[in-house]
């Protein structure tokens, strides 16, 4: 299983070099990444670890490599349009019903600095302008990733959408819709996020394996948002303060 997954990743790595218009630097990065991926695969085989663990190690390895060598500027060179092509990103979408009117839920979300309260992997959101903000998040392997975001649409009580701008570590875009639920059931909050992991197709393959966790993260984030808005706080089973 592990071997075939490694081979598949290698194949997709090969394809990416044909599909994506990249310079020699990213090819080198991808090759090193591929080597790291293979090495991790072997290590995992020896230790008897299975697919999810392997995929995470690979993802971490890719991010670490990029962090160490500073190759994030590769995506800058690619430009937003190339990155945002439909088939090159990962898409996650979750929906939750919150027992408050759409306007109220919208207002809480629109104050972007509220978001780290329920988005566990987001360290901070700093509003930098009328439509711009700076985000810090903790990515795989505990690495901090940062990006600037710009709001593209802001319809009070209905919808907010945004995309990352400039040299984002993980280019991304997203939409949150606030829709009145029937018969006083509150608001259907639907979040969809597209993101473009670094490391070309190999990074994407690794991130795809971790995709379930990310979708789950989003779902848990929305559950926390619901708790904060309905109950006034995030509920906890902790028995002691720390």
């Amino acid at each position: 299983m592990e071997t075939s997954e490694t081979e598949r990743s290698r194949q997709s790595l090969g394809q990416s070099q044909k599909q994506v218009n990249v310079g020699p630097a990213e090819r080198k990065a991808s090759m090193v990444g591929g080597a790291a991926l293979a090495a991790s695969g072997v290590r995992s085989l020896v230790k008897g670890k299975y697919l999810p663990g392997l995929a995470m190690i690979v993802a971490g390895g890719m991010f670490l490599y990029r962090g160490k060598t500073g190759h994030c500027d590769l995506y800058q060179a690619m430009g937003v349009d190339t990155v945002h092509t439909h088939d090159s990103g990962l898409h996650i979408e979750k929906v939750v019903t919150i027992g408050l009117p759409p306007q109220q839920v919208y207002e809480f979300w629109r104050n972007l600095e509220n978001l780290p309260q329920f988005m566990r992997h987001i360290d901070s959101v700093q509003v930098t302008g009328e439509r711009t903000s700076h985000w810090k998040a903790v990515g795989p392997g505990g690495l901090t990733v940062e990006w600037d975001a710009e709001m593209m649409e802001d319809t009070p009580g209905q919808q907010i959408s945004w995309h990352s701008v400039g040299s984002a570590d993980v280019p991304n875009k997203g939409t949150v819709e606030f829709k009145q639920a029937p018969a006083n059931r509150g608001t259907e909050v639907r979040v969809s996020i597209d993101y473009y992991p670094p490391g070309g197709a190999a990074g994407k393959a690794a991130a795809k394996a971790a995709h379930g966790i990310n979708a789950q993260q989003l779902e848990e984030d929305l559950k926390r948002l619901k708790q904060i808005l309905e109950v006034g706080e995030q509920t906890t089973a902790r028995r002691t303060v720390q």
Binding site: T97, G99, R185, G186, Q216, E219, E220, K223, K226, Q227, E230, V231, G232, E233, T235, T236, A237, R238, R239, T240, V241
Partner: protein
Amino acid sequence: MRAVCWHGKHDVRVDSVPDPQIVRNGDVIVKVTLTCICGSDLHLYNGYNPAMKKGDILGHEFVGEIVEAGSGVTRFRVGDRVIVPFPISCGACWYCRHELWSLCDNTNPNSWMMENIYGDTGAGIFGYSHLYGGYSGGQAEYVRVPFADVGLEKIPDGMPDEQVVLLTDILPTAYQAADYCNINPGDTVAVWGCGPVGLLAMKCARHLGAERVVGIDRFPDRLKMAHDQCQADTLNYEEADVAKELQNLTGGRGPDSCIDAVGMEAVGTGIEAAYDSIKQTLRLETDRSSALRQLIRACRKGGTLSISGVYAGFIDKMPMGAIFAKGLTMRGGQAHVHKYLPRLVKLVQEQQLDPSFIITHRMNLEDAPQGYRIFNDKEDSCIKIVMKPQPSAAALPAVEAPAAGI
């Protein structure tokens, strides 16, 4: 403090652990004065719940005194004696606002676990695994109780702990089971399982107007209790063809409603029981269901199946054809304790309903490991064990010595 902790299958220990603290403004700390071992705790004891971790504090049936209250608590003050419902409910979500308290959206911090298994989450429950939120339980000296204003009920003066501790879970569970039966004049209600919930369900069914109740079990002492305390007809399923006997008792119609107070560890008889036992052992089936199959078989056309026993996963050989052909209604789930508490407190206070007859064993919290063992093995005619956390033996009622019969 001292607390009963789960360490593995058939391994519970009384450990010293840090005292709980106020974590949220709506919390209170309850000093436990009486707690019980519930039949559903035995599912954890027998290792059927994979979401238990070593050191988890058990117990979801407890009453006590508030010794500390968070700044947001308005309905209670330090010194109040309180009944603590076993489900933890936020009081704000759609489910709580519709009296479906045990289905609360917001109190299970591990809701994703349950969503992955069942498609949605229920309320958090004290001491009932990380699947139900990972809250520490009440078989301890002290408990952190969240959403105190939403959940707790003051104990009226003069009501002893032994009467009210059964209001935390099993009496509301039994009452809901009977309530779900929509009892009409002349009805017969058959109850599978003459344990604490089954016995109280018979009492409640009678209270709600059932003409006749029938208790089904295999332990003669439990059947005797059903007969003597609940005025039930009784059937020993190891000796009788239950469906046939129930038809005999009801002029060929079958019981109008059937209550399952057994759940996923049904014992059953014959080849069907062996099939379930083997499949469950091999983890090919999570729940044994011979009792539930009997309910379906026995129930009259258009009747109701009321499920109060705990099921956790999948069952095999479900006679769906009979449910369809006979047009049965099935209802079940964890009890919405908050909904029933005020009226049940009143019924008990007015002595219209006294649940305390089911208590057979009184012991010290320190003796919990023995308690779990004898309750699980149905030794010593054990029906219900209550435990006092305070280690001073003098505080125990003199009715029965703690070590008697163990």
